[in-house]
Amino acid sequence: MKIQQLSLFAENKPGHIAAPARLLAQEGVDIRALYLADTQQYGIVRMIVADSLKAAALLEAHGFVVKMTEVLAVEVPDRPGGLADVLGALDGTGINIEYMYAFPYSRGGQAILIFRFADPDAAIARLQTAGINLLASEELLNI
């Protein structure tokens, strides 16, 4: 259920995301999801790509500092309350969300929520008990 996410450090300056993006494009690595967390000085580019090991090796070979982290992908109906239902399932469990981001996909009217949990195993157990659909890696990449 856990999905490999690739994060890299980038200074908050023009052109600093273009370089890694170009590199992945040249090698034909497809970026399926991307989220940018930023401060005034620097940012963290988080992405889910088709071949994360290949992408990480490629970026590292070009001097980028890369970190692989495990995240969960939750599929919810793309309607008001979709997110609230998932969060409701976590209420009172003490399971902490470190960060999250979301993107819709047109086919099927679903939305995907990407979560990084402090304790992913506890989160998987809880969400599955609540009947929430977690996507496996292949499922997410084949959307």
């Binding site: 994060s7 450090f9 620097y42 001097g63 980028f64 500092v65 970190k67 982290t69």
Partner: protein, 443 residues
């Protein structure tokens, strides 16, 4: 020449009389004091005694001033290695004051004063101020930092000793400094030259005409500055700007100061004996030749310094000053023989930055120190490359890393610096080695 001498002596401040001691008499006094301080250090300071032993020397071997060249040097590292009190020659009950300045690692350099030392320090500063034409009736604002740094308190006691009115503002709060200069009718300012440039700029923004204030003199030190900075300061503020020299290890500010002739800084030779040596070999160099300034405290009780390597590069100016003082002069100090940086008057070594970074990360990341001058104030930015070990994909964790680096640097350096996390390999390396310091300050 004679007539200048006579008028100077009769017109001078009473405290300045020793400035005009006939040379023969001055050399006699220096020898007598040198013999006495060497004996004292030999008896009281273990490190000095063992170094004398290694050379087969005893205090009796100092028979002339030239014999000083036989004595071992004292280095900044000696103060660090004997931290905190290892070089004291007086018991703590006789020490009335401790000051400290940044050392090369996390620990500061400690200096001590007996009451007699404090009195000597005050007397040399009175002579500095008197040489700048200041006297009782002047209102002197001291905008050097007060506290462990010797600048503030040193200048303060000197100005009080002169009989002037002291406004002890310490450093910072430019708007308040300017308001007090104006409202109190301050006639002289003591601070670093760059801080005064900052005040000039800020006064203009506030609509205060610096040239119309009663301010007529500035006594500037604790960092190197140039003739072009002097011209800029004097043109912008209609004051006479004086260069003052000193270092905590010797006594603090007041080791030497310009007189109104402005051709070099007179060293108060009855208390501090100057030599110029080759920075590499340590061999003495003749007057007029540039080298490293080495100072010996002739009268210091609590912590005598014998042949202290200042790392400041200058020369002893040949000939006598037009002012009539018999005190020899050093040229203005423009550079150092080591990698010490002076930021807003505070001494910083790149190795201190390294020790702070090591504390946080355990390994040394690539880093670079960037020095700039913004609104006439020195700014220091430490850029740290984010390595795989340091990187975390949570913003909070990176912010935490940033804060830990910031705190460690503030603690070790004693001044506020900027910390910037930068991408790996973004700091330029020349032949595999990063250039550690980029100095973009224009003097």
């Amino acid at each position: 020449m004679n007539s200048v001498l006579e008028t100077s002596v009769t017109d001078c401040h009473p405290a300045s009389v020793p400035d005009y001691t006939p040379v023969v008499e001055l050399r006699d006094l220096q020898l007598q004091r040198l013999q006495s301080v060497v004996t004292r250090a030999w008896r009281q300071v273990k490190l000095f005694h063992s170094r004398m032993d290694e050379r087969g020397l005893e205090p009796e071997d100092i028979r002339s001033l030239n014999d000083i060249a036989k004595l071992p040097f004292t280095e900044k590292s000696d103060l660090r290695d004997t931290y905190p009190f290892g070089l004291f020659a007086s018991p703590m009950k006789d020490v009335v004051r401790l000051h400290a300045s940044s050392g090369t690692t996390g620990k500061p350099i400690v200096v001590a004063y007996t009451q007699e030392d404090v009195d000597v320090w005050t007397s040399v500063l009175v002579r500095c101020f008197a040489g700048c034409g200041l006297h009782r009736g002047d209102i002197i604002q001291i905008a050097y930092g007060y506290g462990l740094f010797t600048g503030g308190l040193g200048a303060h006691y000197g100005a009080e000793g002169l009989g002037a009115t002291v406004v002890p503002t310490s450093v910072g709060h430019a708007d308040r400094q300017i308001m007090l200069m104006k409202d109190f009718g301050v006639t002289a300012m003591c601070c670093t030259p760059t801080y005064f440039l900052h005040l000039i700029e800020r006064a203009a923004e506030l609509g205060v005409a610096m040239k119309e204030l009663p301010l007529r003199a500035g006594v500037f030190g604790a960092e190197p500055w140039t003739e072009s900075m002097r011209k800029h300061i004097e043109d912008a503020s209609s004051i006479e700007a004086f260069d003052i020299y000193g270092l905590s290890e010797i006594i603090g500010p007041g080791v030497g100061c310009e007189c109104r002739v402005h051709r070099g800084l007179h060293i108060f030779e009855d208390h501090f004996y100057p030599e110029i040596v080759d920075p590499t070999t340590g061999a003495p160099l003749p007057d007029g030749t540039e080298g490293e300034l080495v100072l010996t405290t002739l009268s210091k009780q609590a912590m005598p310094m014998i042949r202290y390597r200042t790392r400041d590069i200058t020369m002893l100016l040949p000939g006598r000053c037009e002012c009539g003082r018999t005190l020899r002069r050093i040229g203005r100090i423009g550079r150092r023989s080591d990698d010490m940086l002076i930021i807003r008057g505070v001494n910083i070594f790149p190795s201190q930055v390294e020790s702070a970074l090591l504390q946080i990360e355990g390994t040394l990341p690539h880093y670079q120190i960037l020095l700039t001058r913004e609104q006439e104030l020195d700014q220091m930015e430490v850029q740290v490359e984010v390595t795989t070990q340091m990187f975390n994909d949570k913003i909070g964790a990176l912010q935490g890393l940033h804060d830990r680096l910031q705190n460690a640097l503030d603690h070790v350096l004693g001044i506020r610096v900027r910390v910037a996390l930068v991408e790996a390999f973004s700091i330029e390396r020349s032949q595999g080695k990063a250039k550690r310091v980029i100095d973009r300050r224009a003097l």
